[in-house]
Assembly symmetry: C4
Homo-oligomer: 208 residues x 4
């Protein structure tokens, strides 16, 4: 994928997700692989509004998070997490969203290090899941401003949980990914639906 095409895709997703309340303020970030050998990734810059992305707010970086195209802007501190996921999973795209439901469930279940989403038909929207009789573990990492440490924790988490499709950071939202930008986007939509469903289900019956 060429850089300008990647920028158009990321801007369209940003507009859509902003409208849905998943990347408000300057929260969230989006990346897509441009080439594998050598690794080149288009990723949103630090502190930009995802609802109104312009091409100069998207950077081209290499496997060490160095900007190879994109002028003066700084990569987001969370670039290291994107690279950790892209490399561990061979993913083609990583999306970090910051919705209300991911924020509060990542706090509510934090004591258990995560929670299971189980028995929902919508789980079949996650790549490789073929039945609702599936038990999806959604781990929660403690939030941190030390992104190098958080990237190491992410690598360990992905190594220890080869089946997961996403994870939460406490009071900070969700990371998910996909083979390409369409799959990553669908994973966001599926997981956000499931988070709202389990959150509301719980409010209906607290002992649930």
């Amino acid at each position: 994928m060429i850089f300008s095409t990647a920028c158009e895709h990321l801007a369209a997703i940003g507009r859509d997700f902003y409208r849905r309340g998943w990347v408000l303020g300057t929260s969230g970030n989006l990346s897509v692989v441009l080439s594998r050998e050598p690794l080149r990734v288009a990723i949103t810059a630090s502190s930009v509004d995802k609802g109104h992305l312009t091409e100069d707010q998207i950077l081209e970086i290499d496997s060490e998070a160095r900007v190879v195209n994109g002028g003066q802007r700084k990569p987001s501190a969370e670039t290291l997490l994107h690279l950790a996921i892209l490399q561990a999973r061979g993913a083609g795209s990583v999306i970090h969203t910051h919705s209300v439901w991911s924020t509060i469930l990542s706090d509510y279940h934090n004591g258990q290090g995560g929670f299971f989403i189980e028995g929902y038909e919508m789980l079949k929207g996650l790549e490789g899941v073929v039945t609702h009789e599936h038990r999806e573990w959604l781990p929660i990492l403690e939030n941190s401003q030390d992104m190098t440490a958080l990237a190491e924790e992410t690598k360990a988490l992905l190594r220890d949980n080869p089946q997961i499709h996403g994870f939460l950071i406490r009071r900070h939202g969700m990371y998910t990914w996909g083979a390409d930008i369409g799959e990553a986007t669908r994973h966001v939509e599926i997981l956000e639906f499931l988070l709202e469903s389990v959150g509301r289900r719980q409010m209906m019956e607290p002992q649930y």
Copy 2:
């Protein structure tokens, strides 16, 4: 109705319902009868995004779920449920949605095999209901990946409950239908309103 007109209608409903969060990911499916003798039905193909339906994502099938027009795509596994409903009810259109409220209420009330919606003026939006003093039974089927078995259960359910206007599948959403596509669409809107109302009513007073 000719196939291309049916496709336009289904695509418009898909866009609208996607925006409302009722057919996210690749969930939900839509069908409309093209002719009765012989039976010909336009139905959304398996695993397509209902928010952006194109004509090549809609199939023309016969009474045995064989594709008679539509190229390479596979019919959805749930085609058998559509046919069971179309034949048992003489319906002109069947719609399966997958909203948050139908998902959680189909789980909350699962132990009782369904629940009553009673005393709401909005019930009069269901065909044949002329007063709010109506008691609508909304049955819940256990979810399954065996669609042949689920279609048989659906037939038995429709035989045993001649008065119902829809049913839920546990943690999987809702099926409703109508004499034509307008009536089926209205039934979705009416039942979704009622599900949100009884769900929120219950959260306000758990013993309700």
Copy 3:
């Protein structure tokens, strides 16, 4: 106001309120006074979709609910309530909405015949209210399909409660009105905001 202008206003309000979920299915109805002497009122016909109103779905009626302009369509059964309010209050417009929050609060508080909304700044959006230190009584009528009887109850309610700006019908939604169509529309918006606020406030603290 001439009939065609009234139709444009009612259609625009219908589209907006449909989008907000206040007149789903064929619920809700809208009226505006065209002239006082003799009384002529433009009102939505029975069983039409308020989100897509066309001029032929709006009737011109007189003070006895007789159609004086509008072809074949039937006036809504609720026309009698509109006339009762227009005459008792000298209002220029009456709006009946059917939202989720008005539906569930009209049920929750039904035992007390209504409830007070008190101490909210937003109350100042109701005509004649100049301070948040206001106590607005929102009465609830039991629902009925006998519109002649319900219109009589409405007249008695308006006589006994000269200060109210609206009322609920149990599990059936809200009626409000205004000197003109702008004021009636604002009253809907104000009361819907207050209903959502007191409903959510109550869910946060049930003993509230």
Copy 4:
């Protein structure tokens, strides 16, 4: 900034915030500094619909709240609060919104004079906050129709709480500000997200 540019900005923000339900009815108000020496401020007039602002509904005022440009319209009574904040903080823009969540949380926590929002990543969207390990105090003022007194209370509040980014007025909504109109708008979005998050979090676990 010239007056006509300010009007375009305020109208655009008004339309967006109206759509989000933050300035319904005639609630809310918006201001932006045009010049410092002498102080000139563009501010929305009293009792206008913020969703459809026109240039003649926006006034240019001086440091004493006198209209220096804007014809017949009256400044809003809350103009004194805007001036108090602009002067105490050297802010370039002040925004008052009136959402459901700010309304109910300003009531729920009123007994404690405010509440802390703590540990959320989204706090970093507030100017000067660099870590989620931040404890934001959101004070609550009792509502009043005496704007001169409320402006004095606001001045005292800002003096006593140099770190705050906004405050609530009981059952009346939120005030926030920024160095410019973009920062003020972002602060609204950040604080509204946090209010919804802590509100829903609390409903999930009342003892929270």
